[in-house]
Amino acid sequence: MKALTNKVKPVNRAPMSFMEKLYLPAIVHGMAITFSHIFKKKPTINYPEKKRPFSPVFRGLQILNRDEEGRENCTACGLCAVACPAEAITMEAAERESGEEHLYKEEKYAAKYEINMLRCIFCGLCEEACPKDAIYLSETFTPADYQRKQFIYNKQDLLIPHPKENPEAYQEALGNRANKTMVN
């Protein structure tokens, strides 16, 4: 039969020599390789205590952004939902009433905003489509869970902490993005 690749190596079926029958030299050689790793640099880290920094292009859990005064940026324009290849995003819009100006930036806002994390593939197209800088993918994993219903993220789950009421949490949620905006 013709081999599929030229990397095929035939099995050596020749009888073992005297040195090979002794076994011990081969074991000593193998152990030497094993123990030499003690002195080499560890490629792993102790995960829960130590965490690797994320790549700057890492795409994690979505966050709904607020402006400096804590008003929601999202106007429920639906571009993220129409760009989403997995159809994970759904929303319902409402009109801002007088007295709600401190909550929402524009006259229309998302009364309901949901991302089905079971569907989301973290492609980041929602962030690209957004004309209002309202949604971006953060440097957090979506936590695992036992139940499906925990993966329907509503607006309260997705909103960034209030920058005035909770500035520390806001900065943490911004993550790498805070540095990016400072450069610009």
Binding site: G78, V82, E106, A111, N154
Partner: protein, 368 residues
């Protein structure tokens, strides 16, 4: 050239058509169809006297007629220029036209707020299409945009004067379709605005047709305001026996599930209201604003949407949805659902009927 028929020949972008005398270049181009047709923002074939205001339909006339083949010195507005026998017109083959049209788009967008993420017209807006097809990405305008105070013009129609491009189509609707004109253009030049005189509410039976003729989002349906984006609603053709004289009763329903979110007149390929038996299919306000139940309509079928339009995205092209197969294959055993989405999700709550609210939804409407 002396033939029995008195048709005249006109060549547009190397395509020759025979048309009746008195036809405009734009109408001749629409007979050819496709890319050859110049865009039109103010011209509306169903409204007499419209056209000649926006200048987006500019074309180059390379030869005036067979008798006088000199080219016209300047680009002409095709909606207002009649064809002559042997006329040679250049639209997409012209070098001057795209540049001139980009300039026109820049002018139209000078004072346009570009609030498409909020605007209900986004997705079916002629100015959006025009900007994408013929405009340039940037503007050279450095001053603050013209803004107007918001005026309430009644319970059905929302006026956003900031978005208006002053095409005058709505005033022609008021003049020609309704029996009393209660709005028009007031002031001049940069201050010109569409308004009802001394904030008189528009209460004519056919006033809703202004929404359909408006090429931008300046006049939008208040009962549909912010309910949904047009591309998430499914358009179906439907008709009802309307008793209002003059109403054709044939409309397009924009559905979300089984809810009628919006009713519009049926549009043709040029974005104009369709004609039925030679009569323009205007619909009355009862059909448009007060018939938001599917039981009030006879649904004919799904509206054909151009496949280039965002409105056709992610929709079944038929009325009948695919049947559930699990029960058939499993000898009558229902599929076991691991999660009912309505038990967790707040969106599309079956207890909240947005179509029954005759104003934009507010935060209180979602607190059920």
């Amino acid at each position: 050239m002396e033939t029995v028929s008195n048709k005249i020949k006109v060549t547009i972008d190397n395509i020759t058509v025979e048309v009746d005398p008195g036809t405009t270049i734009l109408q001749a181009a629409r007979m050819i169809g496709g890319d050859v047709t110049p865009p039109a923002m103010c011209y509306y074939s169903k409204l007499q006297g419209s056209g000649g205001k926006c200048r987006t339909c500019l074309v180059e006339v390379a030869a005036g007629s067979a008798a006088d083949p000199r080219p016209m010195p300047k680009l002409v507005a095709s909606c207002r220029t009649g064809v002559m026998d042997g006329m040679v017109v250049k639209n997409i083959t012209s070098e001057k036209v795209p540049d001139a049209r980009a300039g026109v788009v820049e002018f139209l967008l000078l004072n346009h707020p570009l609030d498409c993420p909020i605007c209900d017209q986004a997705g079916e807006c002629h100015l959006q299409d025009l900007g994408y097809d013929h405009g340039k990405a940037g503007t050279r305008y450095e001053f603050s945009r013209r803004t107007f105070k918001r005026i309430d013009i009644g319970p059905y129609i929302q006026l956003h004067m900031n978005r208006c491009i002053l095409c005058y189509r709505c005033t022609y609707v008021a003049d020609q379709i309704t029996d009393s004109r209660s709005h028009g253009v007031i002031d001049r030049g940069d201050h010109a605005q569409i308004s009802t005189y001394i904030t008189k509410a528009i209460d004519n039976d056919f006033s809703g047709n202004m929404i359909d003729v408006c090429p931008v989002g300046a006049l939008t349906d208040k009962t549909f305001r912010f309910k949904n984006r047009v591309w998430f609603t499914k358009p179906v053709d439907a008709h009802r026996n309307c008793t209002t004289p003059g109403c054709c009763g044939k409309a397009t329903l924009w559905l979300r599930g089984d809810e009628v979110f919006r009713v519009t007149a049926r549009k043709d390929e040029w974005g104009e209201v369709q004609s039925f038996d030679g009569k323009t299919g205007w619909i009355c306000n009862t059909c448009r604003f007060e018939s938001k139940q599917t039981s009030q309509w006879t649904i004919e079928g799904v509206t054909t949407i151009s496949r280039h339009s965002v409105i056709g995205l992610n929709k079944y092209q038929t009325l009948n949805m695919p049947q559930e197969t699990v029960k058939k294959v499993m000898h009558g055993v229902e599929p076991k659902l691991l999660m009912d989405i309505h038990s967790v999700s707040g969106v599309n709550n079956p207890d909240i009927h947005l179509s029954e609210i005759d104003r934009p939804a507010h935060s209180s409407d979602f607190k059920k």
